[in-house]
Each structure stands twice: as C-alpha cells, then as structure tokens.
C-alpha cells in the first residue's frame, strides 16, 4: 500500500438513530435556553449557539458537497437541523456546567458584566462627544 492509498482509503463512521433523536434534540434546545436564562448567559449563549451553528453548518455542507456525509432522510433539511440543534445547545450546557463546576470563569461574559462594560463604553463615548459639541 503506497502513502496516497493509506491516506485516502475510505472508512465509515456511522451513527444509528431513530426519528426520536430529532425530538430529543428539540428538548435539549429547550433545556439549553432555560439554563442560559437562569444563569444569566443569554447573550453569550446566543453567540455560542450562532458561532457553533455556523461552524457546524460550514463543515457539514463541505462534507456533504464532497460526498463524505450521508443522511437517510431529507439531506438538506436534516443537515440544517443537525447543524443548528446539535452544536449550540450541547455547547451551552457544557459551558454552564463548566462554569458551575468552576472549571472556567464566565463572569466576564455574563449578561450583567457585558451590559456594565457596554454602559461604560457608552459613557466614555458621550464624554468624548461633549467637548466636540462645545467646540462647534
């Protein structure tokens, strides 16, 4: 077997599931939203969901278009649902758990902290604007 053959010899990673899985993912989405809301991580939760969903979508579409990914139902529908429900909610639950276990420190990204930082920036901006208005 030459190097190229070794590198490109295909094998398959299969995930067996039932349609129940898709309902389960919807329930996990609800759980993730409730957790994010209760812990005050709505903004970072939304961004985690959005960024992971986009990364997952780009990756999954690439795999699908080069023929590496196969779905048994409606490919585009399944792919979109898969990308937007699998990555985000799991990620939010991971972060909430890691924060609760004090493995990571999410205090800087909590809603309260982000709003405080934004208000400070707004205050500084309005301070800068005032002398300019007086000069004018």
């Amino acid at each position: 077997m030459d190097v190229m053959e070794f590198l490109l010899e295909p094998f398959e990673i299969q995930r067996h599931l039932t349609n129940m899985y898709y309902i389960g993912m919807a329930l996990i989405c609800v759980l993730a939203v409730v957790l994010a809301y209760k812990r005050g991580f709505i903004r970072v939760g939304a961004f985690l969901w959005l960024s992971s969903g986009l990364i997952c979508l780009i990756w999954e579409v690439t795999l699908f278009l080069i023929g590496s990914r196969h779905y048994s139902f409606n490919p585009w529908l399944e792919l979109s649902y898969h990308a937007f429900t699998e990555a985000g909610p799991g990620l939010i639950i991971t972060f909430v758990t890691a924060d609760a276990l004090k493995i990571i420190d999410m205090s800087q990204l909590s809603d309260a902290s982000l709003k405080k930082r934004s208000r400070k920036v707004l205050k500084e901006l309005s301070k800068k604007m005032k002398p300019q208005e007086e000069d004018a």
Partner: protein
C-alpha cells in the same frame, strides 16, 4: 394516529460520514491550531474548555461505540486512532473554536457597538 406517530418516531435514521487518514490529519491540525491559538493568546477559558471537553467527548463517543449507536467500519489500530482523534481532537477543537469566536465577537460588540449588547431585557 398514535400508532402512526410511534411508527415515525422509531423509524431508523442514519448519519454516515466517510473519512480517511487525510481527514483525520486535517481535523487534528484544526484542533491543534485552535489549542495553540488559545495558548498563545493566553485564553485560559479556551484552554480549559478544550481540556474539559476531552473526557466529555471520550464518554459520549465511547458510549455510542459501546451501545452500537456509533460504529466505525474498521478494525485494528485505526479503530482506536479514529476514536482518539474524534474524541480528543475534533470535538474539543470545535468546542474551543466556537467559544473563542463567541468571546471575541461579544467583546468586540461590547467595545464598538455597545447598543447591540444593551438591546433587550435579559
């Protein structure tokens, strides 16, 4: 009606991924790149979430393999290499990348467009 719903719920579905050694090398490079970026930028949360995700994904991937929900159609050392690359590299890499993108975007918005962050009640 209920029978139809139960039939639909238990209808088998599959998501398959055709991979090869090149694929495993590419995802390992992406994961390593994410981890190195987190280390270089001294992103403690990024490094910690990567490390925290390793046992989580070893468990999830292992649970899938043990229960038969997940299957690799290969045997020998490549089976274990695939398991390690997926659970230690690929999935934690995506988790850390998604976190770092979110953190950067939120801090950027809070500093440049604070009104967007202040939007809403939450």
């Amino acid at each position: 009606m209920l029978d139809l719903l139960i039939d639909w719920l238990i209808t088998p579905a599959e998501i398959n991924r055709v991979v090869n050694v090149l694929y495993l090398i590419i995802v390992s490079c992406i994961a390593l790149g994410v981890l190195i970026t987190a280390i270089v930028t001294k992103n403690k949360n990024g490094i910690r979430i990567y490390l925290f995700s390793i046992p989580v994904w070893l468990f999830i991937e292992g649970f899938g393999l043990v229960t038969g929900l997940r299957e690799y159609d290969i045997n020998g050392p490549m089976f274990w290499i695939t398991y390690i690359v997926v659970a230690v590299g690929e999935d934690p890499g995506w988790v850390a990348l998604a976190y770092m993108v979110s953190e950067w975007s939120l801090k950027f918005l809070a500093n440049k467009y604070p009104n967007i962050i202040l939007f809403g009640k939450g």
